[in-house]
Symmetry: C3
Subunit: 426 residues, 3 copies
């Protein structure tokens, strides 16, 4: 903050923030397409509301926890116009907040896909507040800031700090492992796993919406990764190239391992992108391609194991996608980032292992603790009746396609309820 920032820096970080903001629409549609129609509205409202609550909590609490900065100064200070202001010109610090807030809000957006179709609404907002107000900022402050002397310790041990350029671990693994804890606390959807051991398929509702979500996430990801440099002089075409090739690797491996399944191939692109975040600034493009390819295959394998063998009902496979591929990316950065493998160097496999493990443990422990406490106190799960009816009518009093509900006669009861209030009553 002591350096003078130019308008170009502000624009650079702003564009990243806008692109990651757009990614939240991607999270929303990925979930809309994957869940059943009776839970689509809930998916949309959850993502938008989680984003709003996250931003608010991060503004008033989380950002201070991570970096010790408060924005409760006069506006003239915030834009560096007053003598001795700690803030840079043109409001650079404010767009940096915007950028990082969109990262913070990814934590509940990731979890949302795991707990879909049976979680209560308000307890989830409380979980979001705790996670974005404390858990994520502490992790972020450790890795990207100076909190708890974490990077000092890692550097003392391995000669280099833990490298997580764009958050394979800080954002994705953390979010994915918190989600695993949440899913374990919540239990599977009604009827998903029968007592006789049979696994009942719950098919997605809408592949085009799923694909739309994936596309929005893919495109926005280039802001997530490239703008993590946070200054235009630090921009690196290598980050863009590596993100591109990791995405490509994820698509191709998930296409093959996932036998042409549209859900797998559209999530496979994301798996590659999750895995490349950490090392996108140091890997060789071919290393990024391999990393993405491994991630795509890992996602498909883990998703199928979760759903069919381990009976972990992680609806969108967010633990497989963000949790496992994120952790894999944290470690891959320590391998494909090495100069001997064509990378730029400055990374150490041991530092990456310890850093990644830290993120995984923090995530899982927080997930179990936060959702366990909420379960013990206010409950986190819809009643069986509400789950059967769907989160849309149970929580939002309207379905995703209200006109269809009113025009089909034998859905009269639902329609009457749906049209009783809200914009559906217009």
């Amino acid at each position: 903050m002591e350096v003078t920032r130019t308008g170009a820096d502000v624009l650079f970080v702003l564009l990243g923030a806008i692109m990651v903001l757009a990614m939240h629409a991607g999270f929303a549609f990925l979930e809309v397409g994957t869940v059943r129609k009776k839970n689509q509205v809930n998916a949309l409202v959850k993502i938008l509301t989680d984003f709003a609550v996250s931003t608010l909590v991060y503004f008033f609490v989380g950002y201070g926890v991570a970096y010790g900065i408060s924005f409760l100064h006069p506006a003239a200070d915030l834009v560096g116009k007053t003598e001795g202001s700690a803030f840079a010109a043109n409001g650079y610090d404010l767009v940096k907040f915007f950028f990082l807030a969109t990262f913070a809000a990814a934590i509940p957006a990731i979890i949302s896909g795991g707990i879909a179709e049976r979680a209560k609404f308000w307890p989830q907002l409380i979980a979001t507040s705790i996670l974005v107000g404390l858990v994520y900022p502490i992790t972020e402050g450790m890795v990207w800031g100076t909190r708890l002397g974490f990077q000092e310790t890692i550097t003392a041990l391995f000669g280099v700090p833990f490298h997580d350029f764009a958050g394979s671990v800080v954002v994705h693994a953390l979010g994915g492992w918190v989600a695993l804890g949440a899913v374990l606390m919540l239990g599977a959807r009604r009827g998903r796993y029968r007592k006789d051991g049979r696994v009942i398929a719950i098919p997605p509702s809408n592949i085009p919406f799923l694909a739309l979500g994936s596309w929005v996430l893919c495109v926005g990801w280039f802001g997530f990764n490239v703008m993590s440099a946070q200054a235009i002089d630090g921009i690196s075409g290598l980050v863009a190239m590596n993100s591109l090739l990791a995405m490509v690797g994820g698509i191709i491996s998930s296409l093959i391992v996932g036998r042409n399944d549209p859900g797998f191939v559209h999530n496979g692109a994301l798996a590659g992108l999750v895995a490349v975040c950490a090392g996108s600034d140091v890997m060789h493009p071919v290393g990024a391609l391999v990393t993405g390819g491994l991630a795509g295959a890992l996602f498909v394998w883990a998703f199928e194991m979760c759903q069919d063998k381990w009976k972990i009902d992680d609806v969108l496979g967010v633990w497989s996608l963000h949790g496992l591929c994120g952790a894999m990316g944290g470690i891959a950065c320590g391998i494909f980032g090495l100069e001997t493998l064509g990378g730029l160097g400055g990374v150490h496999p041991g530092a990456q292992f310890v850093g990644t493990l830290t993120g995984v443990v923090l995530g899982l422990a927080s997930g179990l603790a936060v959702y366990g406490s909420l379960r013990a106190t206010m409950g986190i799960r819809l009643s069986d009746e509400d789950e059967f009816m769907g989160a849309d009518l149970a929580i939002h009093q309207i379905g995703a396609y209200p006109e269809d509900a009113t025009s089909v006669h034998d859905d009269g009861a639902l329609a009457a309820r749906a049209s009783a209030r809200g914009m559906g009553a217009a």
Copy 2:
């Protein structure tokens, strides 16, 4: 235009223009999701066509009305390559036109949502031509240019000009109040308000499309607001931060006041953004949060009053959203922009009140005059039969889901009509 503009300025304004262009897709899907299926095609074609006609009229007429500039010079002039050209290098003036043209086209896009489901197509294009050729440019020229000595007068009265950084009043209030005039001239949809006083709910068709529209608008809005600085040196992270927090405020208040309704919460985000446009460059972030929160609540309240009590059949609630929240934002700028409330100052509540009132009066008067004249001459409303059949088949000879129409047997007549021509006949 006398200063030399750099490539960075051109890029900056261009990015804003592209983002606001994208917002028109958002307007389209917000309307597609809110209207009934039989009017979805019409919503899409209206927005795209209104955009095209607006741009054309603004290019040949409106821009000259607002700023006295014509583009009917050789291309070498336009890019500042000829001696004595009045145009800056790199075609800066051309991207500025592009940026402002996307604002101008927002006027019919706003109105479109109010008059949905029963307006004729061609008269609306005539209204668009008058509004974008004259009404909007005069307003814009008064506030952002030097037309009619408006800002001179305001400054003489209050010491400072009327402040409307990104158009809470010039764009949103103007458009929203024109829309109110149009809706009053047009009358409610058939069957909406029964003679016995009963109000019949007409439910939206597709919440995911409504949400998609809202997301596209939200994301593009950062171009609408930040790029209103029109030069990269003037970029302000404060504008981005304030837009973010106003959006967040709108989401949270509409969630609560609107009791979790997906239509309210996705429009609530927009309400916050509408209200923050005017003062986003001078308010404190907490002021922006409060402004957005008030706007979200105001939208929900006004929407319900319009629909249920006042029986104003403004389908998407565009008067509530753009008209009222825009006006509220014009005034809020004069309060939360004050230095005593942490703002940057340079604004005056009186100037904001007079400026806002001017926009409101201009809008409502123009709306009544333009749509009243068209009603008296060529008619602005579909026949009852066409309205019942839907604007899609009546105007475009095809529905939104032609394959479904042809496969359902008892829809044979519609299908035959739908497949008689156009790309549906392919």
Copy 3:
């Protein structure tokens, strides 16, 4: 590559690459909306997979064919950090690759819309590999590079090189004429043209998705065109203005000629944009408007002739759109770019004609050769049974709306198949 590139250049080209990447989502949804529901999944997977394979082949082969550059150097070289590296700082060359890779991948994306609903999956990926590894790079290398002395010859003949600023010919005409060859080799969809001469309409499934695709393409196109300058100092507001007005011209003419049909008007916008690519940097805005207007009308006329008279079953009309309008744009650049018509000059009608013809011939010949060879060897067409069932179930074992398939009882067989594996089995 000998000049030092700034971060601003890297950002500039990166933004173009991101926008053209997004256009591929547009290609996907344009096809999803136009084909029948039973082929929507296939449309989505094809576009994503074609993009991945294209990028991979272009990375390892195509880029070298076009420009003689390989990226198989250590990362430190690629970002210009090593002594004597041939690569510019900040990884400029890597984002340039990214930008051009998204162009290369447009070739199979264009073809995809022509061969929709009856083509095999894997042979198409082989065609993609040949086209993006050899055919496109050779064309690109001739026009934008120094391959085969093409531009030298044109310049010797006409005094100026063939001008194709953003690829009306190199990308669109080439892709469109390859697609014509592919469509001719593939034959019409089953039941499209009856033996008795009757033409059976196959209506599109989803106009909102078609419109969404068009909007994404329109918005991304400004990256396609403006960022073709490849350096921020070369940015030209004229390119943006001309793209805007050509789009507007295409919308308005297709609205009128296409009698308000939503498919025509949303494709008409694209027709204008295809045609303006070549000359967007040299035409006068009014010339661009006329060019776009002609293209919109040409598209509607050619689409109807193809479908009804010539019985060429080009599903999305990609030959009409990209092939014909692209060629028209190549020639229009030589007319409306002339100084006597207000343009910037430096173009020659003869050079444009020869260059355009070269692209057309290369495209059609390659299309016939590649798809003819594949047809003769492995076959390029689905079995009648698979085509009837739809490419989704035949190739991907899942439909676009799996939940609906399982809930409708008489679709039980499909549902059982759909839910047997993949994410649909979740």
